[in-house]
Symmetry: C2
Subunit: 333 residues, 2 copies
């Protein structure tokens, strides 16, 4: 099968297993953290999959590396391009450096300096863009065409989905050592790439576990799309501190997977997210960004009732400014 075909067809669990082999020794096999005192507070067994400890500070490295590792020699010689305001850009930059190819990342002109600097530290060319997301995406596609670069999409790509799915395969490996399968897995959701990868892994490995997406209020496109049975967009003008999850609508390929497997889409407030960041600080000693904490926010706010259940919560990323983190700590006290 050609690379192009692999990109368009829906990935299978075999693709996730193959991604796991490629990522071995390259990606961090992130721990599943448990805090008995937090369990007592919730009245259930809560297991945090700590992707904040992943290379580049988020799960995005997995999908980017899996995609870039499958470039043809010719594609590799030309290099890759991506558009992103943060985690995907860092994942692509770091993966390209490891695979000894070049990366250009198109980022909004408003991106904090520290995120631009991190991408440059991985050797990427950073192109700052004035304008909305649609114009940034269009400019990226034009640059790809012009320079002969391969686009690494943020979520709607079979090999990206398979890479993110290794999170689900690791969860399956890890919970098997701990006891009965989890009742539920809560996943922060933007475009749905991580959710789709985990959905495929659970289908193969933990079919009895129910999968839930969690989104910030105002960006509940996946929750509404799941109910409607078709992809719906977010209303314009909404705001949230969860910068990693502000995607206009579900991906085409990701939604086709997620509509089959996700039990329900949950939604949380920014206030609940700050509380969850503080709980991840106090009980689990990890740094989560707002978008990385929405899963725990669903549990803590009661949007998801964890009492009497075993629940895996994915903490997807930790790239957060000190000011925002301090705000979360103030919310906790």
């Amino acid at each position: 099968m050609s690379e192009a075909a692999a990109r368009v067809r829906t990935p299978s669990y075999a693709d996730i297993a193959a991604a796991g082999q490629r990522l071995r020794g390259v990606a961090v096999r992130t721990p599943l953290l448990e805090a008995p005192s937090f369990n007592a507070e919730i009245g259930g067994r809560i297991l945090i999959k700590a992707e904040v400890l992943q290379r580049t500070g988020s799960f995005k490295f997995r999908g980017a590396y899996n995609r870039i590792s499958q470039l043809s020699p010719d594609e590799k010689q030309h290099g890759v391009i991506a558009f992103s305001s943060g985690n995907h850009a860092q994942g692509v930059a770091a993966a390209a450096q490891l695979m000894e190819t070049t990366a250009a990342v198109v980022m909004p002109a408003s991106t904090p300096d520290v995120k631009v600097a991190r991408c440059r530290a991985y050797g990427a060319e950073v192109i700052l863009h004035q304008g909305d997301r649609a114009s940034m995406e269009a400019r990226t596609l034009a640059l790809a065409e012009e320079r002969g670069l391969t686009l690494v999409p943020p979520f709607d790509d079979g090999m990206v989905i398979a890479g993110q799915g290794t999170v689900g395969a690791e969860i399956a490996d890890q919970v098997t050592l701990l006891g009965p399968p989890p009742d539920a897995v809560l996943v922060p959701c933007g475009g749905g790439g991580l959710t789709a990868g985990i959905a495929l892994a659970l289908e193969a490995r933990l079919p009895a576990s129910r999968l839930y997406t969690v989104e910030p209020q105002g960006f509940d496109d996946t929750a509404r799309s799941l109910k409607a049975g078709e992809r719906l967009e977010n209303a314009p003008g909404a705001q949230s501190i969860c910068d990693a999850l502000l995607v206009p609508k579900p991906g085409e390929q990701t939604f086709a997977i997620n509509r089959r497997r996700v039990a329900e889409g949950l939604t949380v407030s920014d206030a609940a997210v700050l509380q969850a960041m503080a709980a991840l600080f106090g009980y689990f000693k990890i740094v989560a960004e707002p978008g990385g904490a929405v899963g725990l926010a669903a549990l803590l706010s009661g949007v998801f009732d964890g009492r009497g259940k075993t629940v895996v919560v994915v903490a997807t990323g930790g790239n957060v400014d000190p000011q925002v983190f301090s705000e979360a700590l103030r919310a906790a006290v």
Copy 2:
């Protein structure tokens, strides 16, 4: 060999390996974290052993569990006692609960409520004590005698040392997968129990790696004792934010081990510690308490020159108040 004999004799690597077996599936096998962008900043390869992710938020659980798991049936029926202002108390409380025995912990009356609450959540009886460390220790020994409880010492005990030594054994396992042995291992040092355990593990497993203790200014008893060749006390009246490391002088058994194996004792300022906490937040996404960050502070401040070296830094604990952590974040910006 009787239990009493095991407590007094110097532990060997076999004792650490046995502790590792007991802790399997009970303690977290904490990851060795690496951030390429941080490596670039230091000009070396820096590997963080993230004991902040350990059960109870610090390495202390390892030694406490190893000791308590070796109680005789009679000792187990009566229960254990410990004195501590924080991490050791939580470690003992959690280990006693897992081993289905009872724990009493004597804590200073000034201990923050949250630390008292955590010990109680693990089922421990908390006894708040007014007075200095010496009087707290004396009261603990009197209570142990009166109630027939077994004392779990914070560091000067062969089985506690062997338990902490599992940190060193894991480091040896983990670095073997990564490349050549590390040039140096930096360990935060209070009474010296963790240092002694790691010293024994390195002697057996990584004999070419040099071991360094790191202490806060004003509490450099180990650094001065190593130079003098005898145990020296800290001058009274010193202050530091590193509450986990404020021990008056090195332990007897720990110092006998450490004087043979520690290359040098390093000392850092509180200001450097705050910077290190911020770096652990920004690059590694973990929450370290001040005493848990002194190792990285030695590297960041240049007290230890990491250029061109592979350095393992133990981040020992993450039990820190939000206010103190926010102060570290302000120091970083």
